[in-house]
Subunit: 147 residues, 2 copies
């Protein structure tokens, strides 16, 4: 089974090199823009009511993957699916960013952690009722997060 | 530009009909299993340290989309990207589920909100440091969430 996806737009960011790019959106204050293809304009209505959105995008500079990787925030190899490492069998990234404004098909966002020209697959509203969990254990990241 | 994805596994749930399926993972107590293709087994190491994981999957029973939809939780038409509606240009769903256990390539999960046999694209650890935002506005959902 193959699923064919086509970008609905592109994310513009100040980052043109992988090693300058913030490790997570929550660690970034950078602003950027999301340019949605004009044919999807109608689908953006009501989006500006939400302060935060999920961007789903392609890790377009990643090629291939290995099943054991050393995460950016760890010194030890971990199973790939226990990390947010960009090189994955299906290289989809997700980031929650702050939506500062929308002007027609252009969104201005804060907290960008992707490379410039990243292909966008989807936008979804971020809704704490749906997306936030409590009493969370975070495995190997537990000790790393305190460093 | 086309991006070709292939499922890495399948999600099993008690839900075989769309209208029985919970609207969001956070509103579901149902348990299910995720069966990862055996060739990805090595990538699952360390995952059991995390209490919650993101599942990224294909809304496989959706076909086509419109840019204005009436969300399940609202009475009014909204722009598609301001909703979590399943019929989207790239029909990718995301859910945060509780990981109850892992036995080799089989994960047992709680909080399933997808149809049985949903194709799985990716698993990522859920990390509040990365994924939780505060001071969030939720647009049209604000009034609906109180009903």
């Amino acid at each position: 089974m193959q699923i064919i996806m086509q970008p609905i737009g592109v994310i513009h960011s100040p980052f043109t090199e992988k090693n300058q790019t913030p490790i997570q959106a929550s660690r970034s204050q950078a602003t950027g823009t999301v340019e949605i293809a004009p044919e999807f304009l109608d689908g953006l209505q009501d989006l500006e009511g939400f302060s935060h959105v999920f961007l789903l995008y392609v890790f377009h500079c990643s090629s291939g993957y290995s099943l054991r990787v050393k995460p950016f925030l760890d010194h030890k190899e971990r199973g790939l699916f226990a990390t947010r490492y960009p090189c994955r069998p299906n290289p989809i990234g997700i980031s929650v960013v702050r939506l500062l404004s929308r002007k027609e098909n252009i969104l201005t966002i804060e907290g960008v952690d992707v490379l410039d020209n990243t292909p966008l697959l989807d936008i979804k509203p971020y809704v704490p009722d749906f997306d936030v969990r409590r009493d969370v254990r975070v495995g190997w990241y537990e000790t790393r997060s305190k460093e």
